[in-house]
């Protein structure tokens, strides 16, 4: 993984000092709350319903054991003993005090972490594939490019006061595991006919109240020009994005109102002026970053017999292996998903003890490498198959071996009205009730891949637009009410779901989901036809009827 040198170290330490000064000035009354707001937000500090919330950047979702242990320490010392992993591969602490925030940032700096640009109208943490470096289908490790983007975008002199926030995702596989096309910029890494790394650039995706799947703006962008092209994309947005209405300020609105062709033309014109300038990436710079992401020292192994035997001997392990273990590019290795979705639990929450348990497992069995997925789970990307049983047992002991990765109880949910100042309705209790309703693991496996995504308001932090089944909480005459969307998907065939029917109170939601699922089981061709495929083949009608059925 990337390691700080003295340049990174200096910048992060100086940021801590700067923020300490800003907090002092606020406490002394030298700034208004409105002026302080933008500054604290640029350090990830939000004011929520009950307390300040601190969002910490996990660059492209990559953590090592020491960092995870430090997060556990922070959870204990400054919070209530747990943290919440987010759909942007970050972690947030929900109960911090303003006065403690500079000390927390200092503790983070000790382990090469920070909260820079986790909020505010700037370029946010770049997200990527949780299986980066392990996935057999990747062109190269996409985190190389995420790190190059991280450095370029950190305290960008021109783009720190954009019309609105700006999110970039990078994928390097045909299969998209990052919801890339729901980002302000999505980059797909490919190899061209000459074997060189090139990017397809998608601009103007987003969720929120006006969702868009990002259109393709540029194909075959040579990697040396990545930063100059991004700078051109951002410059056009900084100049012409709307600033009169924050609901219409995201780049998706600019791209859709200009049209993708016109936006692309303006970017191209800007880019022509500067493409051969100082942002052109020298090969040596790319190589230097790439060197940080060389694969770990895998041993030459064959398919593990011990793994096969353990699966036969222990049915619970076998079930976990079926759902949470994924093939690896290196023979004899696997990637394991650590579900943060226990039945009836809060999606994405992990206790300090659990973080420490994962850190210990990662250190002992998984090359000190842990990932956060946008589905709010953790991943051990590199585990020898020989060790999977031991890993499973250790996870099970920590309450982290729920065998439901990708299944119906692996629900994405935003913090909702339990925490969030913007929410109209709660999301967590709805997720918990659905999860309990489908607690039976055999039934879940029979249903197969089904993504439920829940947002507590139209801002769509819970990705409801791109859930196979999306649930949107609204405020109807002062009561929580839920609209159901069907047919969305976040993958390489990204598509927005549609709202069906008039919505329902929260206690009716689990039953409605149950009826839709029963209808799917009745209508699917065979066990191999996933919910979303059956929905696309058959059309919405029977599912909509089931939603509001007797």
């Amino acid at each position: 993984m990337y390691r700080y040198d003295e340049f990174d170290e200096t910048i992060v330490r100086e940021r801590v000092a700067q923020f300490r000064d800003q907090v002092d000035r606020r406490i002394r009354g030298e700034m208004t709350e409105d002026q302080f707001k933008q500054l604290r937000l640029m350090n990830g500090l939000y004011l929520q319903l009950h307390a300040y919330m601190l969002r910490i950047a996990v660059p492209y979702g990559t953590l090592n054991a020491r960092q995870l242990e430090q997060l556990a320490m922070i959870a204990r010392k400054y919070d209530r003993g747990y943290g919440h992993f987010t759909t942007r591969q970050n972690i947030q602490f929900n109960w911090v005090k303003l006065i403690d925030a500079p000390d927390i940032l200092s503790d983070l700096a000790d382990v090469e972490m920070h909260a820079i640009q986790t909020s505010g109208n700037c370029i946010r943490n770049t997200t990527s594939d949780q299986f980066a470096g392990a996935a057999a289908d990747e062109v190269e490790d996409p985190r190389v490019w995420c790190e190059i983007i991280r450095q370029w975008s950190t305290f960008h002199p021109e783009f720190s006061f954009l019309p609105r926030k700006f999110k970039i995702a990078v994928v390097a596989s045909e299969e998209d595991r990052t919801a890339m096309r729901t980002h302000d910029i999505g980059l797909r890494l490919r190899k061209n006919a000459a074997g060189e790394i090139v990017f397809d650039v998608y601009v103007g995706g987003g969720q929120g109240r006006t969702p868009f799947i990002a259109p393709l703006i540029k194909q075959d962008l040579s990697s040396a020009h990545l930063l100059s092209y991004l700078e051109a994309c951002l410059r056009v947005y900084n100049r012409y994005g709307r600033r009169d209405n924050s609901f219409k300020a995201r780049i998706k609105i600019l791209v859709s109102s200009l049209g993708p062709e016109e936006y692309g033309r303006q970017v191209e014109a800007e880019w022509e002026e500067m493409r051969e300038g100082v942002l052109k990436l020298p090969d040596a710079e790319i190589a230097a970053i790439r060197a940080y992401f060389t694969p770990p020292a895998f041993a030459a192994k064959r398919e593990s017999e011990a793994y096969a035997r353990a699966r036969i001997a222990d049915a619970a392990f076998d079930r976990w292996a079926r759902t949470n273990v994924r093939a690896h590019k290196q023979p004899g290795y696997a990637s394991a998903t650590i579900s943060l979705k226990p039945i009836g639990g809060v999606p994405g929450d992990a206790s300090a003890g659990q973080m420490e348990a994962v850190a210990a497992i990662a250190r002992r069995y998984a090359f000190d490498d842990v990932r956060v997925s946008h589905e709010q789970n953790l991943v051990l990307p590199h585990v020898a198959q020989d060790d999977l049983y031991a890993v499973y047992q250790a996870l099970d002991e920590a309450g982290l071996a729920t065998p439901n990765a990708g299944l119906i109880s692996d629900i994405i949910a935003c913090p909702g009205l339990d925490y969030c100042d913007l929410a109209n309705a709660r999301a967590i209790p709805v997720a918990q009730e659905i999860s309990k309703r489908f607690a039976n693991l055999d039934a879940q496996e029979k249903i197969g891949d089904l993504e439920i995504k829940i947002s507590g308001c139209i801002n769509a932090c819970g990705h409801h637009h791109v859930g196979h089944i999306g649930i949107l909480g609204v405020d109807k005459h002062g009561e929580e009410f839920y609209q159901i969307l069907l047919g969305g998907r976040a993958d390489e065939k990204a598509k927005l779901g549609k709202i069906y029917g008039k919505g329902m109170p929260g206690d009716a939601v689990p039953g409605a989901i149950e009826r839709v699922v029963a209808k799917y089981l009745e209508l699917r061709k065979d066990q191999g036809e996933r919910f979303i495929e059956a929905f696309e083949r058959i059309g919405p009608q029977p599912f909509e009827e089931a939603l509001y059925g007797a």
């Binding site: 040198d5 100086e14 030298e30 450095q151 230097a288």
Partner: protein, 193 residues
């Protein structure tokens, strides 16, 4: 459950009485300037025969040639946040100052204007930040080619000094001559750029 039952007002917000707004102070090379020779003219205000005047972009486009010919009079333009700097470009050789307005501190269009002025049009005159210029913008403004600031801060010179040394390293090339970290790393590795 009703939203209002769940919602509670956070009791953690710092309560401080609002202070009166601070007037901007002109900073030149980090020091408060004793006087400002520049006068900003309203569009209907006639230009004096000499002296340094700042006019709107609209007026520059209409009367630029005549204004530039005033004997002994320097000319500047005020670029509003929505103005296109490209339109002012033909006049830049005759301008001694471009004032870039920040109507509200969070409106970052002026950063692009300044960079284009310096990097694309190679403007060598003064680029002055005016409007809602707060101290926490200074670091970014300095990197984008601004050299004068009408700064709203309690102690403007101290705020400026803080901003200048806030970050001793930077990651990306910009208008200022600072060597970004990636370039320094390459130099150190002997590869050069």
């Amino acid at each position: 459950m009703a939203r209002e039952q769940v919602r509670r007002k956070p009791s953690v917000v710092v309560k401080v009485a609002p202070k009166p707004p601070i007037e901007g102070v002109l900073l030149r090379e980090g020091r408060a300037a004793a006087n400002d020779p520049w006068i900003t003219l309203a569009d209907d205000q006639s230009a004096p025969g000499d002296g340094a005047v700042i006019v709107s972009l609209k007026r520059l486009l209409a009367e630029g040639e005549a204004l530039a010919r005033r004997p002994g009079g320097k000319l500047g333009v005020l670029i509003a946040a929505g103005d296109s700097i490209e339109e002012a470009a033909p006049y830049l050789p005759q301008l001694a100052l471009v004032a870039v307005d920040f109507p509200i501190w969070r409106d970052g269009r002026g950063f692009t204007t300044a960079r284009l002025l310096r990097e694309r049009y190679h403007f060598k005159g003064t680029v002055r930040a005016v409007g809602d210029v707060l101290q926490d913008l200074l670091f970014f403004m300095l990197r984008c080619g601004f050299d004068e600031f009408v700064l709203k801060a309690k102690d403007p010179e101290a705020a400026y000094a803080r901003a200048v040394k806030a970050f001793s390293q930077v990651y990306q090339p910009s208008t200022d001559a600072r060597a970004p970290a990636p370039l320094q790393r390459l130099r150190r590795a002997g590869a050069g750029r």
